[in-house]
């Protein structure tokens, strides 16, 4: 579902439910209300926020992720509903039973799509991108040569200049990337839960402390689309995560990507990707529904 992202970024706001609306108030006075039906994600980004339990229950009931962010705009937790999909337990069982070779083959598809998308983003900003097509072809099952890292090593300096470092705790460009990825992560998390898969059983990411490994796996091919938005913002003079930047980055889930079925927003692509992954786990074909690399002339 393509919906709206609600971001609560002012300290001390109170969030409650009133009929079908999420009501945000400050010191007892209502600041605004949004219809709950139509929310894609609730992102919280400030100190001293209060929620009523009703809000968390209602959003979970509708499968809307609530993302709790730390001071660097990085998500610290996502509220996860118990019941996301009617076939949830069956799909999770398939997921647990999936063989390692299958997972490796699926992971290779994701890495290939990500590298092609990185190349497309570089092409869109007019940077050198010739090697990425070749790199994507070098990815073998399970990516044992870690072509993904090699691509990243070339990608970041080409996109943001040689002195750029991807450091999650830095402000500036990194803060913008963190915010964009937080929105993307919330959206992909929603797709995963709506598809009845368990976020903690990943394909490749296997950090024991990360409860969302599958979400992190599946969002890889979409990251370069966010990078492109950040690049545009930086070119327009954005220095950090402010209102204008957030408004632009909140579109992360509705950026149009070319797919086998024509242009679709990222959110829809993510839903299709999750569905195809569930089919692969169930032994019904191994082709993941991944976005196609965009052509250089398309925004």
């Amino acid at each position: 579902m393509v919906g709206r992202v609600i971001d609560i970024a002012t300290d001390g706001r109170h969030v409650a439910l009133n009929r079908g609306f999420l009501v945000v108030s400050d010191g007892g006075a209502e600041v605004g209300r949004v219809a709950v039906d139509g929310i894609a994600a609730l992102v919280t980004n400030a100190h001293g926020l209060t929620f009523t339990n009703n809000v968390l229950v209602e959003l979970s009931r509708r499968g809307i992720p609530v993302v709790l962010c730390g001071p660097n705009h990085r998500p610290e937790a996502i509220v996860w509903p118990v019941d996301g999909h009617h076939q949830q337990s069956g799909r999770m069982a398939d997921q647990i039973a999936a063989s390692t070779p299958l997972k490796k083959r699926l992971w290779a598809q994701i890495v290939r799509a990500k590298i092609l998308a990185q190349g497309a983003t570089l092409a869109a900003v007019g940077a050198r991108h010739a090697g990425f097509q070749l790199l994507s072809r070098k990815v073998r099952s399970g990516d044992p040569d870690n072509v993904e890292a090699e691509a990243a090593r070339r990608y970041w300096p080409l996109l943001f200049g040689p002195e750029f470092r991807r450091d999650r705790d830095d402000p500036g460009i990194n803060g913008l990337l963190n915010y964009g990825y937080a929105v993307l992560r919330a959206g992909v998390a929603r797709a995963v839960m709506a598809g009845g898969l368990h976020p903690g059983i990943g394909l490749m990411h296997a950090n024991r402390g990360n409860p969302m490994v599958l979400v992190d796996d599946l969002m890889e091919p979409f990251r370069p689309a966010v990078d492109l938005e950040v690049w545009r913002l930086v070119r327009e003079g954005a220095a950090g995560v402010d209102t204008a930047a957030k408004t632009a980055l909140a579109r992360a889930m509705v950026l149009d990507l070319p797919t086998a079925q024509g242009l679709s927003p990222v959110m829809t692509c993510a839903e299709r990707l999750v569905a195809s992954l569930a089919r692969a786990h169930a032994g019904e074909g191994e082709d993941l529904a991944l976005p196609l690399p965009r052509l250089p002339l398309e925004g």
Partner: protein, 113 residues
């Protein structure tokens, strides 16, 4: 980039629910209130008494909302559900007293509080 191009690209539809419900007896009043609150549960906001309004992100959503409204319908009374496109919605002129108010705004992709 201030107004959300993405949302409009998905052809926002607006639903306007106009209703006239009998409120002569206690049971009728209760049915009318239930209908009104039901509309609010669906995310409709009051534009005027007996006129409620909300946007739908696409035709399918609008259809789904219409069906939900149908299910809410009390036994008697008259309800119109008018669907207009975002372009038409933009042309609404709003007056308060004799003063003209600024035109309606589209919903943004990001709602920041």
């Amino acid at each position: 980039m201030d107004q959300s191009p993405a949302l409009s690209a998905y052809r926002i539809m607006w639903l306007i629910v106009l209703f006239d419900l009998p409120v002569g007896t206690k049971a009728e009043r209760r049915a009318a209130t239930r209908f009104r609150l039901g509309l609010q549960d669906l995310g409709f906001e009051m534009s005027q008494f007996s006129v409620y309004l909300r946007f739908a992100a696409g035709k399918e959503k609008a259809e789904a909302l219409c069906r939900q409204i149908e299910a809410l319908m009390p036994k008697s009374g008259k309800v119109h559900v008018v669907q207009i496109t975002d372009k038409q919605y933009e042309m609404i002129r709003t007056y308060r007293g004799r003063k003209r108010e600024p035109g309606p705004k589209n919903p943004n992709q990001l709602v920041l509080f």
